[in-house]
């Protein structure tokens, strides 16, 4: 979707705010939100792409107002309710519904190292043929899907060259919506800075994007 999360090339966002000796988490609640995200995923009610899409669905004003982990917290609550892990009433009261059965967490302190630290890989067997070859000139499709996509707007309808074939990965655009994995090749595509941004860019500079077969057409 053409959301505010897709911010490559936007202007007016201001200078970079650099914090020296930045802590990993700025408050204990940030660490808890991160850890809950990592372990609650083990219920397999959603996948990484659906989870990313959950942040993209935040209204633009909220997206900018919230800190990073506030976004994570909000999408965690939203997706947990949507997938039925908890109800809105339970979140609002902080208490399980009367008579709710108690589950057993799939990730406990005993298996957390093995289970939560290894995220399921998005790589799939190389059984799918590539549509493009290294060195080939391609164009990123002009597409504006309303759902999740990993093709940024700034690259759409721009031409580049396939620099590397990364192999086969599941397709976020379908996976995020539980429409199947649609495994396909992902390529490193080099776009010259001039193709993306015009004559003001240095001729030798470039931006590399990792793009799925379905995002590309031959140019």
């Amino acid at each position: 979707m053409n959301g505010v999360h897709d911010m490559g090339g936007e202007q007016g966002m201001g200078p970079i705010q650099y914090e020296k000796n930045e802590p990993v988490f700025h408050a204990p609640w940030e660490g808890r939100v991160y850890a809950i995200n990592r372990t609650l995923g083990a219920w397999r009610k959603w996948n990484l792409d659906a989870s990313r899409h959950g942040v993209e669905l935040l209204p633009p004003a909220d997206y900018f107002r919230m800190s990073y982990y506030e976004r994570w917290l909000t999408r965690l609550i939203n997706i947990s309710i949507k997938t039925g892990l908890v109800t809105r009433e339970e979140v609002e009261s902080g208490k399980p519904a009367p008579g709710a059965a108690k589950a057993t967490p799939p990730i406990t302190v005993a298996n957390v190292e093995a289970a939560a630290m290894i995220r399921a890989s998005a790589r799939r067997p190389d059984a799918v043929a590539p549509r493009f070859a290294v060195g080939q000139k391609v164009r990123a499709r002009n597409m504006n899907p309303i759902g999740h996509t990993r093709l940024p707007r700034y690259a759409r309808a721009k031409s580049g060259v396939i620099e590397r074939d990364h192999g086969v990965f599941l397709f976020p655009d379908t996976n995020a919506h539980f429409l199947g994995e649609k495994p396909q090749h992902v390529y490193s595509v080099r776009f010259s800075a001039r193709e993306l941004w015009g004559e003001a860019a240095k001729p030798q500079d470039s931006v590399y994007l990792d793009l799925f077969d379905d995002y590309l057409e031959s140019a």
Partner: protein, 234 residues
């Protein structure tokens, strides 16, 4: 949602080659109610959420402690620095690292969440690499830990691709006009680590001392690895 919007959705979905289903249509519905859950006081909200999830048996609080502990104390840029130092002193390792990052990182014991497919890109006097994730916050966790706020922020994500030289100047790094700037936008499940140039004058340093020269910023590409300033604490 009105029918016009649903109709637009269906045609967009069909045009992008994705099967139009009810599931997909829900994506647009979700805009309507996502903002009802704004956290007013995150500390209280998270406490309340965690206690609910624990009471329902959905998470184990000790497992949460372990995850926090891992990222606060065990996983961080020292991992990546160790890889860089090894590559600096061992040309054969460096060749393996650049050719097949995943296998070479595994040799040193690194992999796991978000590190399954890591590519290492080498800075030279003529090439400068910079890593960004314009769409969210993709970052090589096993090698660098969790990303700093600036990396996840709008100014960096928006500008790194359109104005990398300006971004680098803000970090105090001015590149010569004849250097090639290569920006890596982490749009899929590949992760990137910059192999900085080994500083001149570090020829006699041990692997451990070299690793201490390698900062997180140098491995994202917003700084160079440098020798400690004269008079600074080692």
């Amino acid at each position: 949602m009105d029918t016009t919007r649903r109709g637009f959705l269906a045609s967009t979905v069909a045009a992008s080659g994705v099967a139009a289903t009810q599931n997909m249509a829900h994506a647009a519905d979700e805009h309507a109610h996502d903002h009802q859950m704004l956290p007013s006081d995150p500390t209280l909200r998270v406490k309340s959420l965690e206690s609910l999830l624990v009471e329902k048996g959905l998470v184990d609080p000790a497992a949460l402690d372990a995850v926090v502990e891992t990222y606060e104390r065990k996983v961080g840029p020292r991992n990546g620095a160790r890889v860089v130092a090894r590559a600096w002193i061992d040309p054969a390792y460096k060749a393996r690292l650049l050719a097949d990052g995943r296998a070479a990182l595994k040799e040193l014991g690194y992999g796991g969440a978000t590190g399954e497919d890591t590519l290492v890109v080498e800075n030279t006097p003529r090439v400068h690499n910079l890593v960004v994730c314009t769409l969210c916050s993709c970052y090589p966790w096993p090698l660098l830990g969790l990303p700093p706020v600036w990396y996840k922020s709008a100014p960096y994500r928006s500008r790194a691709v359109i104005d990398p030289r300006g971004v680098l100047r803000e970090f105090g790094l001015t590149l010569a006009d004849d250097v090639d700037v290569r920006v890596w936008d982490s749009t899929a499940e590949l992760r990137y680590l910059v192999l900085p140039e080994r500083p001149t004058g570090s020829e006699n340093m041990s692997e451990e001392a070299l690793a201490a020269l390698v900062t997180r910023d140098a491995m994202v590409g917003v700084a160079k690895a440098t020798l400690p300033q004269k008079g600074a604490q080692p």
